[in-house]
Amino acid sequence: MTGTAAPSGDVEAAVVAAFHSDWGRVVATLIRVTGDWDLAEESAQDAFARALERWPGDGIPRNPGAWLTTTARNRALDRLRRATTGAAKLEEVAVNARSDASGDSGDGGDAAEDEFADSGVEDDRLRLIFTCCHPALAREAQVALTLRTLAGLTTAEIARAFLVPEPTMAQRLVRAKHKIRNAGIPYRVPPAYLLPERTGAVLAVLYLLFNEGYSATAGAELVRVGLCAEAIRLARTLVALMPDEPEVIGLLALLLLQDARRTARVDPAGDLIPLEEQDRSRWDGDSIAEGLDRLDAALRRAQPGPYQVQAAIAACHATARRANDTDWAEIAALYGELVRMVPSPVVELNRAVAVGMAEGPEAGLRLVDALDDSGALAGYHLLPATRADLLRRLGRATDAAVAYRAALFLAATDAERRYLTRRLAEMAVAG
């Protein structure tokens, strides 16, 4: 142990830092050792509470993660000892703890700390994330479980982030944990033949988390904005755990490049500012630089995938100093590639926008009209909104106004409606 008393401010900061970096590890290890998700969470909570009690007097341990894991494991043993039915389980946990070679001394000794780095603990977080994102769980349950167990958000925080009542979220988490136990969902990293499919689910969960945060704009939605940071944190962890997966790196690059624009994309009223009108000096340069580095690292592996392509598109925007410098031909080509990888009418619509910028509104309009005829995006407000923008650029103000009205009718949020209303008013002036 470091052994010297620490000022309480330092201790609190250290516990908060340890919470961010180690909550997921502690829970992941405890689930493996005890096989009990609730016990794992409760014991992890106990360990963090104990850190707040002990660290001011004992000093902050050299390896807080190891201290917390050992303490949580001991708390789990205590809880099982107190429970009358815990005898068999206790034996199992004790055996697992011994074979781990890091569960010896009281509240976490030096021996435990030294073992921590290479005791397979890293794998536990990977086991945990793959189990949380198992395809036998509903997507909303995957998301909630990932946030609770890996990121350490409370049920109340997750409920607020997803705009559902807390009891609903609590029940969702309980059901998911029951299904894991009752249906026999294994706690493991899937074998190689399942990995591509299962990794896709993990990436989808992280991207969904990010988008939930990204689509939140106003002050009242600050909890949701925090989801962006959580998604990036988890993506970083995943990259560290799966350093050879280009799509994992591609996702992190995509998140960083998009997140760089987050504060510049809303005005003080909380309205969305379109990309071409954003103040690019407010984009986060560090985040862009890291995103570009990560993207390069992913592309060097020459195994392209949809997240890398989306990151490459985001990079085209991020590297354009002015909106007019944007390489729209490249973006249109990248969307073409994305459509081939993941055929989807929404991606087609984005391609039409890029083509409209690269080759002129006429060319974009042809693609949008073809999509309109297919009916695949019926009811999606961005279809008439895109059509309206192309018509406006062609100077067809009356047709544009009709399309803006159609979009306005379908738009879901106030911010979108305000933007469309503004455009519609411009058409009235022009027409």
Partner: protein
């Protein structure tokens, strides 16, 4: 872990099969049964007659109420089931995906409630 693999298929498609198609399907089930027996995971299973031969029984206020047909009138009906004993859900999913009916209908994987 023990699981019931419920084979849910559209009975009208089953009935519309040509004798050759039915033969191929039957052979597929035979092979599945042999493979899984060899693997040591199969503990039971039966093919069921179609829902037109089903009778639904309820007891209400002490009275037995009997009606013709399945309990739910859905397009896909349970046409058979297997009982398997395997390691975990991932293995059960892998086995379920090998059932010929998975290619035309759906397999519901239900863990057995151990007493």
């Amino acid at each position: 872990m023990r699981y019931a693999l419920l084979i849910c298929t559209d009975e009208t498609t089953d009935l519309a099969m040509s004798p050759a198609e039915a033969e191929t399907q039957f052979a597929g089930y035979m092979k599945f049964g042999e493979d899984m027996t060899k693997r040591g995971v199969l503990t039971g299973g039966e093919r069921l007659r179609p829902s037109t031969d089903a009778t639904t029984v309820q007891v209400r206020n002490g009275e037995v109420v009997t009606s013709d047909g399945p309990f739910a009138e859905t397009k896909e009906q349970i046409g058979g089931f297997y009982l398997v004993d395997c390691k975990d859900l991932d293995e059960a999913i892998e086995i379920a995906a090998k059932i010929p009916g998975a290619r035309v209908g759906s397999i519901e994987v239900r863990p057995v409630w151990e007493m």
